[in-house]
Each structure stands twice: as C-alpha cells, then as structure tokens.
Symmetry: C2
Subunit: 113 residues, 2 copies
Amino acid sequence: MTEPILRGDRSAACDELFKALSDGTRRTILEYLVREGEQSVHALTAVSGVSQPMVSRHLGKLKRASLVTARRSGRETYYTARAKGLAPIVRWMAVYGALWSQRFTALEGLDAY
Amino acid sequence: MTEPILRGDRSAACDELFKALSDGTRRTILEYLVREGEQSVHALTAVSGVSQPMVSRHLGKLKRASLVTARRSGRETYYTARAKGLAPIVRWMAVYGALWSQRFTALEGLDAY
DNA sequence: ATGAACCATAACCAATGGGTTATGGGATAG
DNA sequence: CTATCCCATAACCCATTGGTTATGGTTCAT
C-alpha cells in the first residue's frame, strides 16, 4: 500500500504491554499478584479458573511484557508483580492524555490525570 | 476446571480498550487523530500504511472501544479522538499503580504517578 | 528407590485478528 | 445521467491466541 508516512509508534514495549493486559484472565492473575504478593503457579491455578498449563502460559506472557518476575525455589516457581512494568504505557498515556487535555479544554470530569 | 474464585475483573471496558490499543497501526491512527484533530478515512488511509478497508476496520474497533467518534458529512466520514475514552484504563492503572506503590516502597524512579 | 507434587512444554482445536482484493452504495462533479 | 470519489462490507488467507489434555523433568517426601 501507500508508504507509512506517519511513524509515531516505535514502541514495541507498548505492544507487548497492551497485548498482555488485553486478556481478562491475565489481568485477573496480575491483580491477584498485586494485591496478595508473590504466589506460586499452584496457588494461581486454584484461583484463576483455568488449567495449570494455561496459567503457566499466561505468566509467560506477563513475564515477556515485564509485568512479573519469576523466582524458582525447589519445585515451585513464585511469580511477583513488577512495579516498573506499567511504566511505558503510563508514559504513553501521559503523553496522549496531555495532548488530549490541550486540545479538548472541556474534559468533562475525567479525573486521574 | 476449578471454579474461578477470584472475580476481580468485571470490567469489559478495559478488555475493549486494551485490545484496541494493543495494535500498533491502531495506536498510530489514534495518535494522529489526537495530534491533528478530526480526520477523514481518506486522510487516515494516506497516512497509516494500510489499505482503506483496513483503516475502516481499525476505526470500527477504536469506535467500539469508545476511543473515537464518527461524524458523517456527505460522502466522507470524519473521525475524532474521544478524550474520555481512556478513562477506564486510567482508573484501572490508578488503582493498581496505587496498590503497587503501597506494596513496593522503592519505585526506582517510576515517574508519572 | 518410589511415588507424588509442581511446573513447563507439546500437540491439538476452534476462534479471533490483521491483512489483502473485490464489491456495492451513497454523495458529488461534469 | 454518468462517471467518480469516499466509505463500508464481504470473501478470503494466514498467523496468532486462548483453551484443552497429555507428557516429561525436577524436586520433595516416604
């Protein structure tokens, strides 16, 4: 097709992150890790509503997106939510939230900015 | 499988949003709309690097995610970025960012919170 | 040494998704 | 009226993905 004149992306990290967060099960797992702290795959399986292999794969994607870290201890693997993981999309939203704010002066009660 | 004991999600809006933002082309289009304001499909096609039907479909998904609005005028359809669209995930990140901040006191220079 | 527990990977399936070209319909220009 | 432009939808292709069950490798307990 036509040339991609606009190349405003350049951020593969955001791709990874948004894709990782776009699945409900994955968000559920991540939220649980954030709230309850480090958990084994076993514990997460009991809580996530899907099979253990699926939990492992979800954790793999979260890890590739730098949203969790893994620590192996004996036969168990403990996963922990990684605070800095959200940074790229926080930054992305800061940039475009700011542009939005500039353009539309009436934000109609959009808080959290 | 086991029962989904943890039901911390309940937010289909975040699903829609994260999924919409997880594609680079879609973010490119959205960023362009944010920066340049209302644009026709024609203009977006010239700039996005993909075919016109694909632009239409991407815009459809952005619209379903409430990230853009459409205004038809004659034979052209003008799309506009919708400021409030990001609100649900801003809120989501505020909640889990806050929990994260509580749990890990050392944020290691994560700004934008 | 055996067996059980925990985890990861493989093999497979149905569904979704990004991409294309082709088509059709409404609005505008000549 | 006809041709053209703009957009959306359809039909199709291939890659990815969420899910499953089956398997294999470690580690722990007995």
